[in-house]
Assembly symmetry: C2
Homo-oligomer: 188 residues x 2
Amino acid sequence: MSAASRLSIALVHYPVWNKNQEVVATAVTNLDIHDIARSARTYGISRYYIVTPVVEQQKLVEKIRLHWLEGWGATYNPKRKMALELLQTESSLDGALADIESRTGRRAKIVVTGAAGRANSVSFTELKQLMAGDPEEQYLLLLGTGWGLTEEIFDRGDYVLEPISGGSDYNHLSVRSAAAIMLDRIFG
Amino acid sequence: MSAASRLSIALVHYPVWNKNQEVVATAVTNLDIHDIARSARTYGISRYYIVTPVVEQQKLVEKIRLHWLEGWGATYNPKRKMALELLQTESSLDGALADIESRTGRRAKIVVTGAAGRANSVSFTELKQLMAGDPEEQYLLLLGTGWGLTEEIFDRGDYVLEPISGGSDYNHLSVRSAAAIMLDRIFG
């Protein structure tokens, strides 16, 4: 199996920080779904999970997914269909982990991402080496929304990925851009 | 000057192809403005031009820009202000070139991008070497919207940048994701 096919992405809408350091569930946005699915498909990623416990939001994601997979969108833009085939809604991080385990028989290693560095961060090079080390291991890359993933999520990570630096003092990429760059650095 | 400070980006809304191979002016989208401005700021790019000849669309961009630079948005999210300070509307590619020339005294080299390769494409490595070769040279990286930049634009390019490959047969990244990956490959 290629390394990319052993990695899944989860875009986490809960639990995340809001601007005032409160733990919230953020709203799903259409372009997060499309952009990250297209990046995931480009680099050969296994699955792209949208994680939200809010049932109405789950229904919205499913409506978008079915539009492009079975509805008018599937005929209008088959390339979009290819990307959104990777999409799956889960109500929690544990739901995504359970899905990977049911498909592969392996408990995925959790890789947490964020804009701030951590003492135990691994570099992109180190993550690539880790992935090459065991060709059966599964990985789940967690991306935050809002003002980022909470400590509860960081504490569950097997690894924390180093933040993306562009050589400036500005580290406020959109989650869509950050996802694209991360996949390119790992698999490009 | 850093290499990144000698590069500007133009997101071209005309002339581009639509799905039916007709030359059209596409609509400006809010998230193209924000995402690419944030990526540009992260990597230290000089300017981010939105190119559209449609006056109503120019006004829309200016309204968004002023909201974040001077309006309520400037206080709400100063980080967004830092990104949108790079934003500038131009009615044509020539307008963007003239602006660079008036600011720097140099006619920028045009680097065209697209999802398909060309016989005269330069690799990311070659572009970096070109940029290192003359520390005064200015560059303008053109990104297409819709179904991509027209031949008229490709013909004007000094260089065509190789398409981004993710190792799969799928090359349908969003322009927001493609911009992020390109900047990371050149300056990351």
